[in-house]
Amino acid sequence: MSDNSNFHAGERAVQESAGEAAIADRNIAVLTNTVIAGARPFIAKQFMAVFSSVDPAGAVWASLVFGKPGFLHTDTGSTITIDVPERERDLADPLWDNIAKHSDVGMLFIELGSRRRYRVNGSVQRLDAHGAEVVIAEAYPNCPKYIQRRQLRQMGEPRLPVPSAHGKLLRGSVESIIRNADTIFVASRHAEAGADASHRGGAPGFIRQLNETTLRIPDYAGNSLFNTFGNFKIDPRAGLCIPDFEHGQLLQLTGTVSVQWDQNDPANETGGTGRFWEFKVEQWILRDTPQQLAWEYLDASPFNPSVQA
C-alpha cells in the first residue's frame, strides 16, 4: 500500500515522516475530481474565497477575494466560475496578474461562521472582463478544526483603488497584525500537481515572530494528507494571507518555508505533533479590502491548543 497515485512524492515523504501514510490512504477517499452535489450550494452562497497563485518569478501568493453571494458557482461540478468583473479587481493583489500568466490555482471555500470548508485545485481556462473559470483537478471537504467562528454582518460595494503598502521587513502595523492573528491562509505549489490553498488557525499569538523577517508557526494535527507540507518538501516557496478582520485589511506575504520535525516543545505549542514551520519573508503587501466588511467574532475553535503569553 505504499504507492498511491493520489499523492506526489513530497506528500508521501512527509506522510511517512509523520507516520501517517496509512491514515492518509484512508482519508483520501473523500477526494474527487468534481465538486460533490452537497458542496455546490455551499459554494454558491459564499461571499469569500481563498486563492493560491504563482507569479512569473515563481513566488507563491495567497489571496482573499470577496463578492456578493453567488459570485462563485459551479453548475456541472467540473468547473468553478468566479464572477469578478475587471473593474472590481484590486490590481494591487498579485492574483489577477498571476493567473493571467500561470494557470495553476488553488481555492479554498471557507465559511467561517459554520466552520465548513471545501478545497478545490485546478487551472484557469478562461480569464476575461467578466471573470474567470477554473477547471477542477481535485476537490475535497476539510475538517472544522482550528477555525474561529465569525459572521459577516455587512459588506459594502467595492471601491477602488484602495490604499496599499509594500515592504520586506516585519515592523509596526504588520507586526501587530501577525501578533493578533487567529486565522491565516497558506498557499503552496507543486510544479506538476498544482497549487494548494489551505487554512491555519489558532489562538492569537500562535504565530511567533522570531525577527524582522521570520515567523514560526506550530503545525497542529490535521487530516494526515500533508498537501501543504508535501509541496514544501519539493518547493519551499509559500504565500500567506492574514486578514485583519477588525481594520478591514489583508496582509499578503511571500517567502520560503522550512519545516522542523520533532522539536522540543515544553509548552506543548504544537498540541503534541512536535512540528513547526518557519516562514522567511521576502516581500509583503498590506492593503485594504475593496469592500468594507463588518465581521462579528463568535468564538474560538475548541480544538485550538493553548498559547502561552
Binding site: 500500500m1 507516520g19 501517517e20 496509512a22 491514515i23 490512504d25 484512508r26 482519508n27 473523500v30 460533490i36 452535489a37 452537497g38 458542496a39 450550494p41 455551499f42 459554520s114 466552520r115 465548513r116 470548508r117 471545501y118 471537504p141 476539510n142 475538517c143 472544522p144 478544526k145 494535527a221 487530516n223 520533532d262 515544553p266 506543548n268 498540541g271 503534541g272 505533533t273 468564538d299 475548541p302 480544538f303 491548543p305
Partner: protein, 313 residues
Amino acid sequence: MKYLVTDIVRHGAAVKEFQLRRADGEALPHWDAGAHIVLQFSSADGSAFERHYSLIGQPGQSDAYRIAVQREENGNGGSVYLHEEIAQGSEMEVSGPFNSFPLAASRGRVLLIAGGIGITPMISMAHALSQLGKPFELHYLAKSEERLVLLDELRAIPHATVVPHLSRTSGRVDLAKLIGAYNTGDSFYACGPAALLQGLGEAAERQSWPGDARHFESFGARSQPGDEPLTVELSLSQMTVQVAPGTSILDALIAADVFVSYDCKRGECGNCYAQVLEGQPLHRDVCLTPQMRATGMCTCVSWAQPGRVVLEL
C-alpha cells in the same frame, strides 16, 4: 485479493485465531505495529460484511497473517459467521494491510491498554517496543482469567510488563490511577470497547494529558439499546433528516447529500464535529474534550436524547 485460511487456533471459548495466506502463494507485504486488514464476506442469507481485524504477532515480514476473532452473540452476525462457517481451506477476500493506529516515536513512558479482545493490536505494538528496547507497561483489562486470551504469547515477549486487571475479582479499574500524571513525552495506546476508551479519555483530560499523547482504536457498535429515532435539523442547509437507530447521524447526512466533513467514522478524529444548537447529545466519541462537548458533537458515533437535535450545518 483472494486469501486462503491455512490454520485455525482456538483461544478459550469465544476467540478463534485465523491464519491467512495469499491464494496465489505470493509473499505478503511488510506490515507495521497496529496494522489491520479488511475482510469482506457474505453469509448464507446474503448479508454482506466488511470487517477490520488487527494483525497479531510480530510485525514485519511474515508467511501468514494472523487475526483473532471474538464471537459476538449479540453482534450483527459477522463474527458468528466466521466462527461457524470458515474452515481450513476457506477462501476470503482480504485487503490491506492498513494502519490507522501506528506507534509513534516517544521519549517518555509508553502505556498499552487493552480491554478484552482489544488486546489484538497491542501484541504487535508490544513486539515493536520490545525490539526497540523501549520499556513499556501493558495493562490488560478483562472480566475474568479465562478471557485473557493470548496471554502466554504476550508474556513471552522480552521486556514486556503485563499487568492483568480482572473486574470480576477486583472490580473496576481506577483509570486515572492507571495512566497517572502526564509528563512530557508520555503516550498511551488504548484499544477496547467504546465505554473503556471514553473513561480513559475523561481520565486523561482530568490529568491534562494532551490530545496527541492519547491514541485510541475503538471497536464495537456505538448504538445502544434504548436509542430512539431522531429528527436531525440542519440550520444552515435548512434540511431535516430522520435517522433511525443503527444508522449513524453522519451516514444519514452523507446519504442526504449534506455537505459534511469526516475522516475516521469512529469517534476518534473529531473531523465530523458539528455545533449543536438544540437537543441533548449522548456523546460516544473518544476524542472530544468536555469543552468541545459543551457546544458540539461527533455525528459519526454519538446519538441524542429522543426527539429533535439541531446542528449548525
